[in-house]
Symmetry: D2
Subunit: 355 residues, 4 copies
């Protein structure tokens, strides 16, 4: 049984961490950090936790916390952890950071897209990008895990095998993503009021969303060359769920008879299956089935489907996740499981809630 602390426990991602960890056999939450609610019962902030969590909220004294627990989750605003992290903290505990502070290796790229000065670039190098299906080995040995963003997790895993295997023309990759509103957090903003979101659909952050360089960086590693994409997020009137619809031109590949041909359905499917057949959390759907966010709601699954368009030579790849689970808290727990040698799906065998 390990001890965990959460900084930012009263945001939506923090609350989802609590929900998941309450069902985890090997973890006990010792610290519900929340600057805004210090001294208040956690269950008075999230009443779904009534009679399940008796603790009150504590401050965000991460140095003290590091001495008390085996792992710290930081579900905090950009720049928070970068401003607090010390060698001493990392010497005392493991850190899984749900913010973007250590996701991007090039500090200039981070500072440009986030418009924040990075206060502790010295830790960027050792931080492991916690996309478990890709970096499993490195995560196991890490002290500091940069938990991927919600859009990025979905966008990357949906395209990863084809990018890695060189099946698509990287210059043509476009990611059109749609997210439920919990991704916007629990801050009280007019734009996120029920009446503004309900019965409405819009794109936002077009060409400027901060998850763009994160997707590009990871796909570049996979491709072995620099990838530049268009990424367009949209706000959908639902609480949870991300759907990524991704477009790219297929590349001809060498066939058994030596000729160069576009890959067909079976060939693409085989590539996906090859990469994901042993991945508990990635479900490559059957032919003709498009993923739906509701089928993964509340779970850590990524559902992936695709369709080839012979008319245009493009492939349409689609991926669905629950943004708060595989896109945030669930993946953070998956990383924790890797860090401590627990079964990777411990606490994460949550069955999707339908309807």
């Amino acid at each position: 049984m390990i001890k965990a602390g959460i900084i930012g426990a009263t945001g939506y991602a923090g609350a989802e961490l609590v929900r998941i960890l309450l069902g985890h056999k090997e973890v006990e939450i010792k610290w519900y950090g929340s600057r805004s609610y210090i001294g208040e019962k956690y269950a008075s902030v999230y009443r779904n936790m009534f009679q399940l969590v008796d603790d009150s909220c504590l401050d965000d004294n991460i140095e003290e916390l590091a001495r008390q627990v085996d792992v710290i989750f930081t579900a905090t605003p950009q720049g928070f952890l970068a401003g607090m992290l010390t060698e001493e903290i990392l010497a005392n505990t493991k850190v899984v950071d749900l913010s973007a502070d250590y996701r991007i290796k090039d500090v200039k790229v981070y500072e440009k897209w986030y418009q924040i000065e990075h206060k502790s670039p010295q830790f960027i190098g050792e931080a492991v990008y916690g996309l478990c299906e890709v970096n499993r080995g490195k995560v196991k040995k890490a002290r500091l895990v940069a938990n991927p963003g919600c859009y990025t997790t979905c966008s990357i895993l949906t395209a990863y095998p084809l990018v890695k295997e060189g099946l698509i023309d990287l210059n043509t990759l476009i990611v059109d993503a749609k997210s439920g509103t919990s991704g916007a957090g629990r801050g009280a903003k007019t734009a996120n009021l029920f009446c503004e979101v309900n019965e409405n659909m819009k794109a936002y952050g077009v060409t400027t969303h901060r998850h763009t360089p994160e997707i590009e960086e990871q796909l570049s590693y996979a491709a072995g060359e620099e990838v530049t994409i268009n990424f367009t997020p949209h706000l959908v009137p639902m609480n949870r769920g991300i759907l990524a619809t991704e477009y790219a031109s297929l590349k001809k590949i060498r066939q058994a008879d030596g000729s160069l041909q576009y890959p067909d359905y079976e060939q693409v499917k085989a590539v996906y299956d090859n990469y994901y057949k042993d991945e508990y959390f990635v479900r490559v759907l059957d032919k003709g089935v498009c993923p739906e966010t509701k089928w993964v709601e509340g779970s850590n699954f990524v559902d992936i489907g695709f369709q080839i368009d012979a008319r245009t030579g493009r492939i349409v790849m689609m991926g669905a996740i629950d943004n708060l689970v595989k896109g945030a808290a669930g993946q953070a727990v998956q990383n924790m499981n890797l860090l401590f040698g627990f079964p990777e799906n411990e606490g994460l065998t949550l069955v999707p809630l339908f309807p």
Copy 2:
């Protein structure tokens, strides 16, 4: 490890049974019965179950099923089980019936409200009404459990302690209930289309809803006298959740000083606490807190709050459940746990999903 079969596995309540039983350590589902989908993969009907359930749907041969499993859940239309049940079946297995067939002791009342002839009234007598918090002892010894309706579970538990203790005038009891749309089932009806329900609110079945006599019967047992109520269900644009708002005039009670006075907040609260303090699934909320359906979504909890109105002498009682869990499949599993001597909350420690 026991074996379970589900007849009606492809309705919403049946699918929720699957979701819950997949997380139950002591049960294995051996039979996914669904007359409409015989031979089809269960996971092609409920794609959230992809890679979690590999079975295909079977027919509803309950006699054969009874020989194979330890417990049968029937999540079937009214009259189905009544038309099939035999002594032989009950000799071979336990039955938890999620339909209304054995809930009402007076067969004439059943036939009047449901407009169906009851085909096996001989089993009504032995059937135990499976409201666990009230009939726990009887359920443990039963062969046939009549699992309560969704509205009824919420409506009864919200008022039960005050009815039992004689704190309210039973002639004044009014239940105004609001339900998510999954209560209407998965049948393809125009009235339940997204565009008809979304952005809409209505009452239905006013003065005629079939859960009325069920609530009345159970509250009559509690009161020791016949109770007649108004029950008005409403359809709410959400998937899950029932909220019951109940009104009744308080009765004066004998106070410590011998005088007759209306009970105050603390006295009413003490009654609720006394009845429910040891009930894992019933959460009596703190003073001033009104239940919200979202706080119990996906869980087997019943959240209860109340407010006394000194101006009118009435009490407003409020209860919230997830209609598919405590209002159907969750309570069915709770009954199964009682039947087989498992911990009552085994498989049911699901933390509510928020947001």
Copy 3:
């Protein structure tokens, strides 16, 4: 053509006034008052108005405004108008106040329920309660109209004929009301975020909601005796719409043969029809039809239905409105039409939007 000014033009009710007045042949909006957005294009705050409204927002200098326009609408927080109103203003212009400042005749009741000191009680006497169907004659001659609340409009009109005619026992009247979220306004509050409201249902303000004394006062006038009720509002995950479900015991009435009997369906229907047959905006539905909020969305209609329960002797009355139209801006325009002698439904023949 008259000139109108709006103070509070950037709240939801203010914006709905703009929407309606843009389609009104006899009115020109000259002043979009909004303290928060002074100098900003109105259409940048409500982008649905792009290319329809070119004006920018002005301050709330009501004295100046009174010199420029024929009618002022105040869609402002409680206490605002009471703190500003002067005899000079009323000498210069008509005022339709969408706040509660002049709705309640007894200033002590106002101050108790609103917890505000009333700054200009001298105008309470002359203010006319603008429930057009009830006070049409008085409104026509008024300088100051107190536009009714959303819940109150729906609650009163649904019960009014039966209260007035003495068909129901006033001591038993209970109003269980359900509202869309736009009634909570456009202020940025966590409780009104999409993720908090969506897939959720709750009661709030139980026994304490401020619309209670307003309903009671108006029904008391109708009854000729003091009426005390229970009023319970609920928040529903939809943008617009109020549904009021009202319960009361029927009273026996003298029948044609001289006997005292409970009124039957036809007798109650005749009373409703008698009161509302010439009312353009009140639609008494056919037998067995329950009102639905979607059927009045975007329109100024009130849909009313009822059901008698012979088992309990109660009647269940149901009324539905669009809270922003008949419950706010639409009724305000209806009052304006009365004040200026326009056809009462001018600008208000909006057909409900379905789906």
Copy 4:
């Protein structure tokens, strides 16, 4: 005052025609055709029309109807009108067809994508594709107008000026579209139940949706060359609204100094403004503003915005409409206005409903 008849008056598009035509000064609806509801009061099928429409539904005898009215709207399944249309009908009346029967000039393309044999290809030639902003002149002289599809209207108008002016590389055009659920019609299908759509997001008809060839054909006319695109529709949990997000690589254009350069924001904006500045229904939004479906709900507006991505050389174009108005009934009325010489926006100055 002209007389209109509607075949298919009880579908969502038919009902929207009724809503709009009720507010049109020059039209009287004489025929509410609905095969499924013959003899039933129209207002009992669409209760929002209670006391507004007194007529009952009639059959779909289009020959008889053609003798009685000046214009027929057919809001019917694919193939219906093609199977009924005769020269005699067109000699007697104008026809605005909301189905796809006469939208596509090449009957083989129609038959391939719709999998229906076309029964009256002889009328395809004379049918005018009723995208008013593009074909205004031809519509005015037509007898038979093929009213565009919902997705197509939005997709085409969003890209039209840039396609026409050669600013984008047509081989790179991708349309990712998102639609509210009313586009799926009022048929009772499980997939369109509230609980299946709510809290869910999915793509469907990927690479195979029937609106694809319609978009391609119209853009090909604009481009003067054959255009092949990817079009991906998605289902969004809202009643109304389509958002099209369109991607294309910009082409270098000859600049004032003679050089070839990519167009900048102002140049692209000028093209849009040039095409749409006199179009009442097309609103080109200000710099940086992305369209939202809620801002056009209930109205005939098309809101268009765009963003240039210098990193990838692509432009992201976005358009929003109400699928039932500009995407169906509103555009049909706009076409009718052109056919009869009414002001083009008569009956269509509906202000968008927000929230």
